[in-house]
Amino acid sequence: MENKEKGHLHPISRAILEIAEIFGQIGFEVASGPEIEDEWHNFDALNVPKDHPSRDMQDTFWLKQPKSESLTVNPLSLTKERGGKKSRQGLKIKDERLLLRTHTSPVQIRYMEEKLKAGIKPPYRIIVPGKVFRNEATDATHEAQFFQVEGLYVDKEVSLAHLKGTILHFFKKYFGPDAEIRFRPSFFSFVEPGIEVDVKFGDRWLEMMGAGLVHPNVFRAVGLEGYRGFAFGGGIDRFLMVKYGIPDIRLFYSGDLRFINQFRV
């Protein structure tokens, strides 16, 4: 077959749009943040203390010391922000140590900080699709870079049942109406209780997301009191690998149309 006229959207871009659409239906907005992060947003504010074994859960690409004050990162693409000089200036990173963000979770912090600064209190409902980095050897299931989608919901009364309902809604829309999920105990420092979410494919359960109720220390870090929340995060590459039977995560970043052109839109 000869391909004519229309090009092909990268499967990850397509997935991000689908995910945004599914969560948009239940009131979640898209938010984003910089790929270079400071240690505070990526770890400390998320209740991962310095010199703590929980930092080993994510192999980090640290950057050689740039003059951090002079480094400007993207302004947050906050939903209510329209134009203005502030967004052009961007955010200055003050923290000493810089890194490539190991997860999209720092955007939880940045979003809440910005909202509170603007005097906007919860409820918040956001999803954060974006690229993340891990300093680990690459193979068919590990890449130094991949995409995650983070979700954050903050309100007065929030329970694990809300989390279950939201994640189930997503997986049913994304993988099909027969999708089943289950919760297992797990640990992510920025949630308590911490949950691992498995999704059933045929007769196999596959680990698909980390989740939980937002740890009070995270709210403390941004200065928010009297609220609860849930958060979740999963690898978009992994969703696609499972959905389409893609055997190797490295194909996503190969720049090879033998791969990309299989995804027809």
């Binding site: 077959m1 391909n3 074994p53 950057l63």
Partner: protein, 681 residues
């Protein structure tokens, strides 16, 4: 962590469920199981203990407690006989804490270098091989047996989670001192590595110098060996951060350092010394045990968490009774007292350093009650008009425009061989910087895809990428990074069968026109790079903007062959009334059995002469019957013809195809066409 099923069984009076079942119970109540291995009549479970529970669960007793709580059984602690205390020479222990560590993490946490040091003399020991039972226990979890004393220390560590050590008492001169090393002090470790120490490293020392790197590794000088007669036993507790930093810096990771860096309650040191002594007394009936010397400047206090029953239930969205919640917590060894007003007060066992706030109790209740019982609830209704951030809108609008214009999207690595921002510990030398542009990767991808264009069926290659880059800013002075993170778009073109001009420029113009904003592109060699940063403030997403998402046709990904491919084109004239499909079915039939080598095929040209142009001979093929050489009916002079050109791409899934092989297939194709009286051009 490896956990022996037979070892766990020693904690239970009743027979445990089979190992697979135990694994399942743990999976849903506490820990993921990475695997179960059958080994010499035992089952070894690989239990994934995450950092929150590593305080108490990096040992068999911790795991046994979890199983007991999950299946609502009681733990039976094995009865051990404590040895009598004999009068042995006194042992002196001196903890010299420098200034308390400055990075105070939590107000209530103890920040001394050494929170507790328990020493005990043992005399009249005989070093020998361990009995079979002890060896088997250690070997089941992959630990090498060394001798009875060392094995006993290791056994108690894997049993209780408390690292222990034994020194040869006759080689220790003077008091046991716990102090920071002086810069330049040296130690030769048990595995004969010479290490130079400094003040960031805590030592166990005597009057002559270092005996051990505290919490990490023993030293050679007072090693327990075959000649050892007298021991000094150590059960201690060190500051987790200090141990973690030292072990990272020295690149020495041991079972002890792993447990200390995860923090252990100093209370465990006391119990472990009792167990260590009892086990040694059992192994060495002749040995005499001195008094327990316990330096414990600030004893740990038991923590109490107060939580409302309603709060726990509301996090889980369950209605568990007060009594049942208390029952679940008591299964974990938590002493619960119900106060008035639906408040419970939970006295936390010392080793459960992970339990600090009411939310932690909610997790304990939730996981043991069962997360499967948590209901499914929808979020309260919210305003459904969600706004789309300008950046997200912009990038996806550009994708929409480019895809409609025949461009395909790639994503490449953010790491590259050169750049402005360097990675501290890169994975590879060509990935040691953050990329400063997208064009470079795009050009590599253009080359790759141009080479594969016939295989993929691309008349030309048009690709783009949208992603973050980190270029230097113009104002940056040498050696300093003064740049910023920018969102860029790059698009590129490589000619294939079709060669067009101005594709890149045209695409940039098209995007500018559709967005109504002039894009500034840097164009080099058929690729354009555009900084998107200035755009978002100038545009905004329409109210309730939704991307247009046509249904995906793809259901399953098909792996592609990476072997070379061979291209053959077939062009022929046939009578006008013959369709291309009719011609293709003849070719397909001729390819026959070799169809699995036909990786792709397509009609790439149709040419229909519009009658004989004035002054030129009509384009006509001399089509003859191959059998007789006589003109066939279809070859009548003056009949209208049509020309089809097909491309056939051959490739094997498992090997490199030879030219000869493809020539043979093509010979069949030409024959098949000729049989119909069609001659390939």
């Amino acid at each position: 962590m490896l956990v022996s099923y037979n070892w766990l069984q020693t904690y239970f009076k009743e027979k445990l469920p089979p190992a697979e079942k135990v694994g399942e119970v743990l999976t849903f109540s506490a820990f993921e199981i990475d695997g179960i291995e059958q080994k010499n009549g035992d089952s070894v479970l690989d239990v994934k203990v995450l950092p929150d529970r590593a305080h108490y669960a990096l040992c068999h007793r911790g795991i046994a407690h979890e199983i007991a709580a999950a299946i609502d059984e009681k733990i039976v602690l094995p009865l051990k006989k404590n040895p009598n205390v004999e009068k042995l020479p006194p042992l002196k222990v001196v903890i010299s804490d420098p200034n308390p560590i400055s990075h105070k993490l939590e107000a209530e946490s103890c920040i001394s270098d050494c929170r507790r040091y328990i020493g005990r003399r043992v005399s009249g020991v005989k070093i020998s091989e361990s009995p079979k039972r002890l060896k088997e226990r250690l070997e089941s979890i992959g630990e090498r047996s060394i001798n009875n004393v060392v094995d006993a220390a290791n056994f108690v560590m894997f049993d209780m989670g408390q690292p222990l050590h034994a020194f040869d008492a006759d080689k220790v001169k003077g008091a046991i001192q716990i102090r920071r090393a002086e810069s330049g002090e040296k130690i030769s470790t048990l595995d004969c590595k010479d290490i130079i120490l400094d003040s960031e490293i805590l030592m166990i020392a005597d009057d002559m110098g270092p005996l051990a790197i505290a919490g990490i590794k023993g030293g050679k000088r007072a090693e327990v060996g075959p000649e050892t007669k007298n021991l000094i036993l150590e059960s201690a507790n060190f500051e987790p951060t200090l141990i973690r930093r030292a072990s990272e810096r020295l690149q020495i990771r041991t079972g002890a350092s792993k447990r200390f860096e995860n923090e252990i309650s100093p209370e465990v040191a006391g119990k472990a010394m009792t167990e260590f002594s009892a086990l040694l007394a059992d192994l060495l009936p002749e040995a005499e045990f001195g008094e327990v010397k316990d330096a414990y400047p600030t004893p740990a206090r038991q923590s109490v968490i107060e939580a409302k029953i309603n709060f726990i239930n509301s996090l889980l969205d369950l209605k568990i009774s007060e009594k049942e919640i208390a029952g679940i917590l008591e299964r974990l060894g938590i002493a619960v007292e119900i106060r008035g007003g639906g408040v419970l007060s939970a006295a936390i066992p010392f080793e459960r350093l992970d339990l600090k706030i009411p939310e932690d109790l909610a997790e304990e209740v939730g996981r043991l009650y069962g997360y499967d019982k948590v209901p499914v609830a929808a979020l309260p209704a919210a305003k459904l008009e969600t706004a789309t951030p300008a950046r997200f809108y912009l990038e996806n609008r550009i994708r929409e425009i480019l895809v409609a214009g025949g461009f395909s999207e790639i994503m490449a690595s953010s790491l590259s061989a050169k750049g402005e921002l360097a990675i501290e510990k890169p994975l590879a030398s060509d990935k040691s910087f953050l990329r400063t542009n997208l064009s470079e990767n795009l050009k590599t991808s253009l080359k790759l895809n141009a080479a594969n264009a016939p295989l993929i069926g691309l008349p030309e290659v048009k690709i783009f990428e949208i992603g973050k880059v980190w270029p230097a800013s113009a104002s940056a002075s040498a050696g300093e990074f003064g740049g910023r993170e920018e969102s860029h778009l790059a698009l590129g073109y490589a000619p294939g069968r079709i060669k067009n001009k101005g594709i890149v420029e045209g695409a940039v113009k098209k995007i500018s026109a559709e967005l109504g904003i002039e894009l500034k592109a840097k164009i080099t060699d058929n690729a354009a790079e555009i900084d998107l940063e200035p755009i978002p403030p100038k545009i905004s997403a329409p109210e309730n903007w939704r991307p247009k998402l046509p249904p995906v046709e793809t259901t399953k990904y098909k792996p592609f062959s990476t072997y070379p491919f061979i291209v053959r084109d077939v062009a022929l004239f046939v009578p006008e009334n013959i369709s291309d499909q009719a011609v293709w079915s003849v070719i397909e039939k001729a390819v026959g059995q070799s169809a699995d080598l036909l990786a792709n095929h397509y009609l790439f040209d149709i040419y229909k002469p519009k009658g004989p142009p004035a002054g030129a001979a009509p384009v006509r093929l001399p089509v003859r019957d191959t059998q007789t050489g006589a003109p066939r009916a279809g070859g009548q002079a003056g009949e209208q013809k049509i020309s089809y050109a097909f491309r056939l791409v051959f490739q094997s899934a498992g090997r490199t195809l030879a030219d000869g092989e493809v020539n043979k297939i093509m010979a069949e194709v030409y024959k098949g066409l000729a049989d119909r009286g069609w001659q390939a051009r």
